[in-house]
């Protein structure tokens, strides 16, 4: 099969079926939406610290606007930043390269996946400008508030939100089909399942978990749409409906979804630890087994989000038990990560800094989840800022620490240049400090009883002791957001002006480092790499080098063009 196509501008950059270009498109989408999501975070913190004062670049954040903003912040950060940045971008870029394939199994489906996601993002952004304003039901869209426009005054915005989510869910499922079929059918010769890098395994685990979990929420979305548009009563008690059914359907998906966002980061960190500590991963089989158990358990923990909803109390204890149980496989994985680093020759390059930062911050998130999973403590903590702090200590590390780790680590392969190391290090240190300064105080105000999703804390005299903490968190948030400009500058500036990268700057074993930087269309030269070893042969006793590429016979012929 000969590969002779000269690609025009549109085929190469816009309507590309090349998995690497699709990956970069998803990355750009994620970064753009992160700017919007970050702006909303700024507005939220502004209103909480300086209630009813006009926010810069926006004006006064009135309560109904606040509701819309928190909804959009959550929706955008999870589905238009988190999923593209952690699932779509890395799976698209890495999976074919790491297994020695030329592209995805279904390249045109891949392209469709991106354009569907872009359309969904467009629909969501367009909802800012429709009569009635954008969706304001919380990113969880609890019924009956979300089921009828008589409660929020929002009709078209809600409909657009539901359709936008349905589209992004379908697009992600289609992407998942691609990744799974590619890994099952297109591995290079010698690339047995046990030689596939753990990043690919975790990306697959995420894709699998996603498409198995998304069905019920899509079903619920159709029902919610009908409630809003056709006046049905699926979730409206006045019409014979059941609001809690929405919550069950939503969280049945919602809980596995947070693991969909967590698994890829675990994969990146494990691979990064192996490379930057020059050690094999500790307990690889144990990690994979724990992941399988965690996925299975993740489907039976969902109602821990519903302990205080008035659901049947008989359900509380079983779900509390499963929730506490699920911390076990994750604890095992965590210990394996620590043991991977132990006694390694650690080099603190930016990817390693992000991975270490993830380990530290996610630990806080994971441990605080135990308090919330214990149903008794949850009676007090539910709906407070303790929950907000908990999920930001899990989601922010997963999405941003993990995302930055991946971008920093694979940037040389993606663009053929190195990121400026000083800027990247400063970006990490400042982000780490400011992130903790924003969210640690929220644990304190949460335990003090301050509830979430209220626009004006000054309205409640019992929250007056928290004014200083809220202001501190807000100022830190503004600094955190400002710090991200360092990354944006570094990312775009280094594309053309960074130091030219060698083929394998970190001396990593995995296959993608054998390809050119960036890999050409078709990834490899005329001959595909032949794999003869696993990906974690670092510091093997008796060898001269402390690394051993998976396909030593691959010559990497330069392709003319």
């Amino acid at each position: 099969m000969s590969q002779e196509h000269h690609q025009g501008f549109f085929t190469k950059y816009i309507f590309s079926t090349d998995h690497k270009m699709v990956a970069k498109q998803f990355l750009l989408l994620a970064l753009s939406m992160a700017v919007i999501g970050g702006f909303y975070a700024f507005l939220i913190r502004w209103e909480l610290a300086y209630p009813n004062q006009p926010a810069p670049f926006f004006g006064v954040v009135t309560p109904d606007k606040y509701n819309a903003i928190i909804t959009l912040h959550g929706t955008i950060m999870l589905f238009f930043v988190g999923m593209p940045l952690l699932n779509a971008f890395p799976s698209n870029f890495l999976v074919p390269l790491m297994i020695g394939a030329r592209d995805m199994a279904f390249p045109r489906l891949n392209m469709a996946s991106f354009w569907m996601t872009l359309l969904a993002a467009g629909l969501l952004v367009s909802s800012f400008f429709v009569p009635g304003g954008p969706v304001a039901g919380g990113w969880t869209g609890y019924a009956p508030l979300s089921a009828s426009s008589e409660y929020t005054g929002v009709k078209m915005g809600m409909v657009l939100w539901i359709i936008s989510l349905a589209l992004v869910f379908i697009a992600s499922s289609l992407g998942g089909i691609n990744y799974l079929v590619t890994v099952v059918t297109m591995r290079a010769k010698g690339m047995t399942y046990s030689r596939v890098p753990i990043t690919v395994w975790f990306l697959l685990a995420a894709a699998l978990t996603f498409f198995l979990a998304v069905g019920p929420v899509l079903a619920g979305a159709f029902m919610l749409l009908m409630d809003n548009v056709f006046g049905t009563g699926f979730f409206l008690p006045g019409k014979g409906g059941e609001p809690l059914l929405w919550q069950h359907l939503f969280w049945f998906f919602g809980h596995p979804e947070v693991y969909v966002l967590f698994f890829p980061t675990l994969g990146f960190c494990l691979d990064i630890f192996a490379v930057f500590c020059r050690k094999p991963i500790f307990g690889q089989k144990l990690i994979i087994g724990s992941t399988v158990v965690a996925i299975a358990l993740s489907f039976v923990v969902w109602a821990h989000h519903m302990f205080q909803t008035g659901m049947n109390p008989t359900l509380v204890t079983p779900f509390a038990i499963t929730t506490i149980l699920i911390s076990v496989p994750f604890a095992i994985i965590y210990v394996c990560m620590f043991l991977t680093i132990r006694n390694g020759s650690i080099s603190l390059e930016p990817p390693m800094l992000w991975a270490l930062g993830f380990l530290a911050t996610f630990l806080v998130g994971g441990l605080t989840g135990i308090f919330l999973g214990a149903a008794g403590a949850d009676i007090y903590l539910h709906g407070t800022y303790f929950v907000v702090a908990h999920f930001h200590y899990t989601m922010f590390p997963s999405v941003f620490f993990g995302g930055y780790a991946a971008v920093n680590y694979w940037y040389p392969k993606m663009f053929g240049r190195m990121l400026n190391r000083t800027a990247a290090t400063i970006h990490f240190v400042l982000t780490f400090i400011f992130f903790n300064c924003v969210f640690w105080p929220l644990f304190i105000v949460g335990m003090g009883g301050m509830v979430r999703r209220i626009a004006d804390p000054s309205f409640y005299p019992q929250y007056s002791p928290f004014v200083h903490l809220n202001i501190f968190a807000t100022i830190s948030a503004m600094c955190l957001i400002a710090t991200q400009t360092i990354f944006l500058w570094n990312f775009f500036y280094s594309m053309k002006n960074g130091k030219v990268a060698e083929l394998n700057p970190y001396h990593a074993n995995t296959l993608e480092w054998l390809a050119q930087s960036p890999p050409p269309h078709g990834n490899w030269g005329p001959k595909l790499p032949v794999v003869t070893s696993g990906p974690y042969e670092y510091s093997k006793p008796g060898e001269t080098e402390d690394w051993h590429t998976q396909a030593p016979s691959y010559k990497g012929e330069v392709i003319h063009g």
Binding site: F299, V300, N312, L315
Partner: protein, 97 residues
């Protein structure tokens, strides 16, 4: 391996499916005691489904991965329904008591 050409028993399966469908409709007119009717109807439906799955969809020729892809969602369906029954289906009735 060609799933569609392996001994074409499509006609036999078709006749069986039509008969089963008509029997299922007929069964709904029998007024059996209590829940037996439901079990009979859905038992017949399950048989039809298995016929289509194994014969038309070629499930009998597929490997573990495809079996897993079919069975796991069914398990998830069971989990969703059974764990929600105490809350959605029976809770309102309990309240009345």
């Amino acid at each position: 391996m060609n799933i569609t050409t392996s001994k074409s028993n499509h006609e036999l399966v078709y006749v069986a499916l039509v008969i089963l469908a008509l029997v299922t409709v007929g069964a709904s007119f029998l007024h059996l005691a209590g829940n037996e009717n439901v079990y009979l109807i859905f038992g017949l439906a399950t048989v039809q489904c298995l016929l289509v799955a194994f014969q038309y969809m070629g499930l009998k020729l597929e490997g573990v991965m495809v079996y897993g892809l079919v069975i796991v969602p069914l398990i998830l369906f069971a989990i969703l329904v059974f764990l929600c029954i105490p809350d959605i289906s029976h809770y309102p009735l309990n309240l009345k008591l």
